[in-house]
Amino acid sequence: MLIVETIRMSLNSIQANLFRALLTMLGIIIGVAAVITMVALGTGAQRAIDAQMAALGDDILSIQSSSRFSRGVTHDSQTLTTDDAKALAIEPVHLSDVVPEIGGRLQVKYGNKNFNLSVVGTTPNYPLVHGFKLAHGEFLSAAEEASRTRAVVLGSEIPEMMEVDAAALIGQTLQIRSISFEIIGIYESKGGSGWRNPDDDLYIPLSTSQFRVTGNEFVGTISARVSDSSTIPLAMLEIERVLRREHGILPGKDNDFSIMNRKQFAESRAEATQVFKYLLAGIAGVSLVVGGIGIMNIMLVTVTERTREIGVRKALGATRGNILLQFLVESTILCLLGGLLGLALGASVSALLAKYAGWQTVVTSSSAMIAFGFSAAVGMVFGIWPAKRAAALDPIEALRYD
């Protein structure tokens, strides 16, 4: 019952100095908001990676040209060709699909609108391996690949970019590097994967790209799906063996390509994100402690200011414990209110970041609880010293204090 009265008393005294209380709480508000936002960003990034892994599949290996080191010079060159892709696809043991692709940002013109977009030349099995679905029209076919047809399938966001209804685009033409292409299909949205958004890309047959647009036989990336995800190391060996043979690399010489295991890549990225998250939470935690010191400072001022009140209360029968509790409850309430406001602020900032910066943020209940609990603990820990000072005041001295 006394605790109820004490809480009421503390709320009254906070209310009496509302503006000061707000300023006092500011440290905690910012601290908690920072914790919430940082953890929300970290969790969001992790979820994005998880989602990306799930969408891409962790059974796809990416092969890319790598810089070659010979005669003391690094050669940064394109080494992968369509022939490599074909070689990999001949009687593969551990691979099920091989998709070469070549991409680059090119000038795209539709009507009188100009864009600079990423154009991907690839084989008909690309949508299958990468999990694309059609929204309108049809996929690129083997016949189109064979005949180097000037046909294009659009990523889901392109129609919006061109300010045209998606369905109406089928059968229309657009220009890539001033070469006319017929729009034959539009993909469903696949979702951003962080550094590249496949929905913003245009997809044309690989052969068309090589012979009509870029004019050479090189490809940028070869994706290979592993037939069984438990045999990834064997699949990587297989790729290495085939490509070394194709490229005529002598034993003891370095590969002129690199194989990226997406699963491994995603895992290391997740790990980095985790470290980053803890780092951010740590920085935010420091700001909470600084906020706590602010609370302590103001509570010490409050105790001095209210010395006479403490004297009166002691004369009326308050024990040391009563006074201690009163000031401890007051600092804890300050911190809890600060925590609550900080929670609201952090959640809103996270929502705004998600809406306007396009970052995925996730406010988890556990981060809210931790931040809230931590702010209560800050209130108690940093409230103890001022409260002890108040409780230890001599009633006669306190009554005489002006």
Binding site: M1, L2, R308, E309, V312, K314, A315, G317, A318
Partner: protein
């Protein structure tokens, strides 16, 4: 000899306060100063006592010790046959709460709280529930004639009204003694008279009153005057 008999509560049933050889010594550097030298004093139930003396005579120190705010360095203080001089902090706080009602010269009301809330404070520390507090607070405010102003804050009240609130606060726990330190010192003479009238009324209702003052006309309201000088009782007269 007689001291053994004196300590027996059975023989002195009506004594509220009994001070024996009370000393309060302060250390100022290497020097010792006795604010109270050797005070023997007994106050009975329903007595109205004025404690007088020059400033520095020790009357404030005596007041603090009687009010359980200070410990004597030597001697004994019995309050209702309880040995206050041996109490710890917690027991002293309890005694201040239950047995003593303070009225200060500067009122010492809590400025942010209403008159009602101010009067309620001691009852909160007594641990009474809301309903009991409400009843007792109302009665105390009624006794001092301030029931209609109980939702006002001290800043909205006159000096006399503030002192009435303070008196209600002192009365609310039904203490054994009301202890007033220069209760009219901050009031004009007409209002002071009003407050002294209230004290007379409280005395007639059966309360035990101790008023510290340096003004003779205030002391004249009391039945008994104890005069202090240099830490000793030099005069103790009853009307």
């Amino acid at each position: 000899m007689a001291s053994i008999l004196l300590q027996s509560p059975v023989l002195k049933p009506r004594s509220v306060i009994r001070l024996e050889g009370l000393q309060r010594r302060y250390q100022m550097g290497a020097q010792f100063i006795d604010a109270l030298h050797c005070v023997d004093l007994e106050i009975q139930k329903n007595e109205y006592v004025a404690i007088m003396g020059q400033s520095g005579s020790g009357k404030s120190t005596l007041m603090n010790i009687i009010g359980c705010l200070d410990h004597p360095t030597a001697g004994e203080y019995w309050l209702h046959d309880e040995r206050v001089s041996r109490m710890n902090d917690k027991q002293l706080a309890r005694t201040r709460n239950m047995a003593i009602g303070f009225v200060f010269q500067t009122f010492n009301l809590l400025p942010r709280m209403t008159a009602f809330a101010n009067v309620e404070v001691p009852l909160i520390y007594s641990g009474l529930n809301r309903k009991e507090r409400l009843g007792r607070t109302n009665i105390a405010l009624e006794t001092v004639g301030l029931k209609d102003r109980m939702q006002h804050r001290p800043s909205e009240l006159s000096g006399g009204q503030r002192q009435r609130v303070a008196i209600a606060r002192a009365l609310v726990t039904n203490p054994s003694i009301l202890l007033a330190d220069e209760p009219t010192g901050n009031l004009d003479s007409a209002t002071g008279l009003e407050i002294m009238g209230l004290f007379d009324k409280l005395h007639s209702l059966g309360n035990t009153l101790i008023v510290v003052t340096h003004e003779q006309h205030i002391a004249d309201h009391a039945q008994r005057t104890v005069r202090l000088s240099d830490g000793d009782v030099i005069e103790d007269t009853r009307l």
